[in-house]
Structures are given as structure tokens and as C-alpha cells.
Symmetry: C2
Subunit: 210 residues, 2 copies
DNA sequence: CTGTATTTGTTCCCGAGTTCACAAACTCTT
DNA sequence: AAGAGTTTGTGAACTCGGGAACAAATACAG
């Protein structure tokens, strides 16, 4: 489920705040969802709550971490070290919590050897070697849109089966490969769409009446 | 609809490639959706296709742009100019297509006056002034998680009703304010979840039999 | 030990969104 | 001009996820 990471984050906050136990309603409001939905989600992982009491924060946190797979180590390779790739390499949320950036690759020769976030930028051709050396299963694409499909194809060839794509393109990949797309300008466009509708419904009541 | 930006992107690609007309099937496969769904989505905007022919790329592109609101200008303010905020300020996908970054704000005094992407970093206290001067309706939060809620509260006070949140927190905002969350590590966790399930189902057929 | 209050796990129901399938409308060839 | 071939728009069935409500289970007070 896509909501598990949100629950986990809420649990971490509670744990930091010293909370040792919590009800489904508390956790649900912290995560911004309905309590029934939360309970149903958690019941899919097993019965980790106690009726009349609630959930043990630490225990539930461990169980969700295990379910997501955060108890193991996930090596990650980032391709395309432009502004965004640079930010991703430095992003602490990646390095913490089970994810470990093991290599930064870029096609631009002039940037090879440059050190970002403690890692040397290497040529894109090294991908196969990197995958073999570190057992990488997750690839992050932060290249321009025009290069993204070629990078994805090469990643699949090298055995990567999970791709996080920041380039504004729809990638076509074979069956069995997962792609998640994060499109910054799409998000803005969706906001603009709603913003526009807010304004029009507020400012044109006359048209609705006519 | 959240799919409109994807359609628009596919149409732009076609337009760049010189395609002047396209069928619903072509556009649907380019966007990665079912053709019936695409037709139904487009029919909500009006009847812009011709039966037996398809859609006129340029015309449909304009209509979708208008529907999303990209024909008008959307001033955007970015708060939190760390690694990510830096990347966002430089991201060309923001500046093009109707969005215009009008101000960069940061609470860290030592960074005030620094120029990023042609804009000077200003103190967070300037938010109200910025909103008043430029009529900003969209705010982007790229601060650490701990500061995000306070920034959001202040944004709402200043009249911003659309927020794009990159901080790993659930923001609570009043009715009528839209928040879209982009959580980079959540995306990775979801990939890890699926990756783990791929591996376990491949390597433990024995357990399934027993 | 018994009854009451609390909270989880689960069942049922409903509505939104998706897909199928087909009629209406248009083009092109003969 | 007429029929064959396309392609859109949409009505109807279906699927899936969400929310309300309730029973089972636990804690606690008297």
C-alpha cells in the first residue's frame, strides 16, 4: 500500500515525542486518513493491535518497516547529476532509513570526477559495473526528458527492476519492471487547475444564475 | 483531472514531432492509459474531436492548456532554498508553461541576498509583501519537515490557497486550501515494497506449496 | 467476579471511476 | 452518390476502494 510510508512517518513522530501507545484514531488523524481505512490497512499486515488499548508504537513501527522492506539495505544509483540530481544526492531522506546511494552517473564527461555528497560522479557506461558491484535494484532518473527512455532501457538491461523517474516523460518498460513518476510541473499544473476553478466559481455567480 | 497534464505533455511531444492530427488510441498509448478513458476525459471538456478523423493536435493542446489554466500567468513563491529549493528555482519546467517564480524566501539570514536563478533570496518575513506585490496564489514548501507547518500556516494567513509541499510532513490546513505532497523517500519506500515482494515470490515457491 | 467502557478487526454497502461495446458521425474510394 | 471503413462520444456493466456500523476482545471499576 502507498499509505504505509505515511503511517510510518507518523509513528516515528510519535516515537520521537515519547508516545508509547496510540489508538487507530490518533494515528489516522496524524496521517490524514479515516480511522477505519487505517485499521483495514494494518489488518492486512496481521493483527498487531490490542482491542481496548490500541497499537504499541515501537512494535507497529517495526512491523511496518519490515513490511515495506526497510529492515534491509537498498542500494540506489542516481543517473543525471544536474540541479535535481545534485539535490537528490544530498537529500538526507534517501541516505537514512535503509536507502544508500552507491553511485552517481552522468553522461557529461566534463563532470566526471566531481565529488557530490561524498561520491564521485562516474560515466554512465559504468552502470553495469555498479549494478554488479553493489547489487543495485533501484535506479533514479534525474536526466533531461530526452535522455530518460535510453537511460531506463539501459537500466533494465543491467537488471534494475525498480525505477524512480523525475524526468517529465512516460517511460515504456517491460513487464515486471516498476516505474514511479514524480513530475514536478504536473503537480503545479494540477494546483493551477484547482486554483482556477476556485476563482471562477467565486467570481462568476451571475453566469450560473442566467 | 490529474491526467490532463500527462495528455498535454504527450500532445506537446507530438506537436514537436510534426504530427498534426492523432487518434484517441495514439494519444492514449502515448499517455499510458486506456483509450476509452482518454475519450471520456476529453469529452468532459467538450467535443473537440472529429469522428472518423481524430483530434487536431494544436487545437486540443490549446483547449487542455486553457482548461488547466496555463493560458494565464501563475506567480509562484518558493520557501526554503536548500538543495531542493535550489533545484526547484532552477527547474526549467517551472518557469516555462505559465509558471513564474517571483520570489525565493528563506529563514536563514546568512543566505539573504544570495542570487539563485536570477532571483535574490529574501527573508521569510517578506512573504506578505511578495503575495501582495505579485498576486501569488501558489506556494512551494521546500523547507525541513520541522518548519513546514509554520510556513504553511503563514502562507494561508497571507492568502495563498494552493501549496506544493516537498517536506516530509502531513500539513493541516483550513477548508478551501489545496495541498499536494511530493515525498521523495515515500516514493522510494513504495518501490522497495514492491521490489521486496518480487524477490520473495520468486525465491520462496517452496513455502507456497507447503 | 461481574458489568461497563473502550478499541480493534471485519462485514456490508455504496459510489466513484474504469472498461466494454456500440451507435452516431465523418472520410474516402469507386 | 452510395457503401465501406474509421473514429469519436456515450450508455451500461463491472470493479475496486472507502466509510459506516457492528461484533469480538480487552481493560477497569466496584
Amino acid at each position: 500500500m502507498a499509505r504505509l510510508p505515511v503511517y510510518l512517518r507518523a509513528l516515528n513522530s510519535m516515537s520521537d515525542a515519547g508516545t508509547t501507545t496510540c489508538s487507530s484514531l490518533e494515528l489516522a488523524t496524524a496521517a490524514g486518513v479515516n480511522s477505519a481505512k487505517l485499521r483495514k490497512d494494518l489488518s492486512h499486515l496481521g493483527s498487531y493491535g490490542t482491542r481496548g488499548v490500541g497499537y504499541d508504537v515501537a512494535y507497529l513501527r517495526y512491523q511496518i518497516s519490515r513490511e515495506i522492506g526497510l529492515t534491509q539495505d537498498w542500494p540506489v544509483v542516481v543517473v543525471g547529476i544536474g540541479n535535481l540530481g545534485h539535490a537528490l544526492a544530498n537529500y538526507s531522506g534517501f541516505s537514512s532509513r535503509g536507502f544508500r546511494t552507491v553511485a552517481l552517473l552522468d553522461a557529461d564527461e566534463s563532470r566526471h570526477g566531481e565529488v557530490v555528497a561524498g561520491l564521485e560522479i562516474r560515466p554512465f557506461e559504468d552502470l553495469k559495473q555498479v549494478v554488479a558491484d553493489h547489487g543495485v535494484g533501484i535506479g533514479v532518473i534525474a536526466t533531461p526528458a530526452i535522455a530518460a527512455q535510453a537511460v531506463a532501457d539501459r537500466m533494465v538491461e543491467c537488471g534494475i527492476r525498480s525505477v524512480l523517474n523525475f524526468a517529465p516523460t512516460i517511460l515504456s518498460v517491460p513487464e515486471g519492471v516498476d516505474v514511479r513518476r514524480v513530475d514536478l510541473s504536473s503537480e503545479l499544473q494540477i494546483l493551477a487547475y484547482h486554483e482556477q476553478r476556485k476563482n471562477s466559481t467565486l467570481s462568476t455567480p451571475v453566469e450560473d444564475v442566467s
